[in-house]
Amino acid sequence: MRYAVYAEWTKLRTMPGPGWLLAGTVVLTVALSAVAASSVTCASAGCGHDAARIGLQGVQLGQATVALLAVLMVCGEYGTGMIRTSLVAMPRRTAVLAAKAAVLTGLTLAAGTAAVLGSVLAGRLLLPGSGFTPAHGYPPLSPADGPTLRAAAGSVLYLALIALLSLGVATAVRDSAAATGTVLGLLYLLPLAVRMVADEEAQRLLWQLSPASAGLAVQATTDAAVLPLGPWAGLGVLAAWASAALLAGGLLLRRRDA
């Protein structure tokens, strides 16, 4: 297993794409968070905004590059035919997938931590300028504060789980365009579909099942009670999605010809 992980790390390290994608994740996440923190305004006390959630808004964009990295890790090998070499060298296919998952998790956790810390810092600097001041009931954003810490750590885990979900989908689908389309559809269309449903019960259910909506519940610090799922339960939904995708991908990888 150690060698499998090392092999995956070497493959990833020697391509220019992953580095750029990880850098892109950090930059895009911090940029969107900064835009959100400087454009949402809080005019008076009790303006109803969730400062931590605004400060971490960039995760909405960062998840796309993380997903792309995961898809490329698998589909890139299918595209070039490298997968055959990989599987000849390491015939235990689940081990290959597990090694990929381990390397990917490590990298997204690292990039995610940088992105989230950058976002919190941007929020800390920019939010007071938008009216999120102690006078309006908003102390400066700080990872030392319990709910904020949960939101920040949860966002890092969210990115890692999105990566694992994408890895599973990519292993199952194999074609990079189709895999990317499927993952982005899951991430961006399901939350939209939640909005379109008129029936309140169905809306709640769909919200609870949607990986992005439920997973991002972990960012809620003030309005957690009104959301259909608690923060950790929401992240649990995403974890279930990721496990299911990895399981399906692993089974297909074992059964199919490469």
Binding site: L61, G79, A198, L227
Partner: protein, 524 residues
Amino acid sequence: MTAVTPYRSDLRAGRDGFWQLVRAEWTKFRTVHGWVAGVATGALLVVGLGLSFAAGSHSSCSKGPVEVPCPVPPLGPGGQAVEDRFFFVHQPLDGDGVITARVTSMTGLIRKPDATPGVRNVVAGVVPWAKAGIMIKESTEQGASYAAVMVTGSHGVRMQHDFTEDVAGRPGGVSPRSPRWLRLTRTGDTITGEESPDGRRWTRVGTARLEGLPARARIGLFVASPGDLTISPNAAGGSIAASRFAEATAVVDRVSVRGAGTGGTWKSDDIGVTTEVDGVTPHHPGRLERSGGTFAVTGVGDVAPLTGESTVERTLTGAMAGLIAVIVVGVLFVTAEYRRRLIHTTMLASPRRGRVLAAKAVVIGSVTFLAGLSAAGVTLPAGRRILRGNGVFTQPVPLLTELRVIAGVAALLAVAAVLGLALGALFRRSATAVVVAVAATLVPYVLAIMSFLPESVSEWLLRITPAAGFAIQQSVPEYPQVLAHYAPVAGYYPLAPWAGFAVLCGYTAAALALAAYRLRGRDV
């Protein structure tokens, strides 16, 4: 020394016009099952999601203990859904006539969000588009043709007719010290509205032609006050609008009516008043308090086109999912050639590379347009039927608008597929191209309606990114004279339908041009 004659084939030279190239690309497209299946999936997503959303939407209203079909909004003379709810103090008018009145004050009550939960928080005030003035209306039926000149809460004097038309007069409010005189004159079908500060010097505000106004119409005073609109952030992202009760009271004196049929007693009607659950007691009734020649008229409601979310394009929400499917096919249409090395053959057969890209764009654009057209053409009428069957009202729109919505959604899919193609040719990597295309078209839309970004930022996102193209499906326009939640989340786009679509086309054309340029410069 012998002369060498170069070899000449006996075959006639093949034609290599653009259409041959298009045909070649079409052959490629239709013989790859995955691509055909991808476009079909896109079309089926439009139909399937649209119809299931329609089937899942129900609405029912209760009248006391019984469930009854919800009231359908009245339709105005132009066929659009309207709100026609106001307090009308009127007399009959046969043929031509004039009404003059002086508005001396306008006050009102507004219900604000409860400060203490459960306790009604009512404050004094007038909403910006509260209306008080004089009106000539075809009948007291809701939706009947009318023309009116009025004083508004904070938009000065206005002349409005037939719900959608609005002309501004002098700005400023009214008070007993600076009253406003209003005059409406009917001459045949033409109604002229005038205003004056003192009843002597009159300024014309506007004229209206009410086609087919019957000889007998109603003439009189009216007051209406739309609800107070508050927009608050939604816990799940985006914002929600709430409209709370507001009523306006206008004091009117020096009322004079001239014309055949007038001069009798004044009749009061609370046009379109809603009732309590018992179906009899009026809910928030208007009233008239008269002392001598002074009328204090109180009204609730509005005389305006309906805004809101009950639009036909709601049935086409599946287009978002279809968009991803056609983008994927558009990208693969070119990246697969790189992966399978077919691109070498293609470029050998047709060395002019820009033309190859153009032919591909024509094929993928036409195929997705036709698929989208048939999908939207089925979904919109069928979805509306299902919605009507479920008791959900959808706003009627003119036929041309409906065709624009259907063809627009198809064109949206087609242009998105071409954008995918261009990005695929530019990056030559499927995953990157798909992510960039989706990030350019769908993600700004999702951020605009789902996130905590304020509405100004959301609107900019839908102005400057390719997501502006979604504007093509907006069927009900924004009315400056109606205060409503005109936000992307409510289905209103910051750009006009064709302008928004042009932004998407511009991005696509730029991407195609860049791809063609890079294609010529690079080794395949």
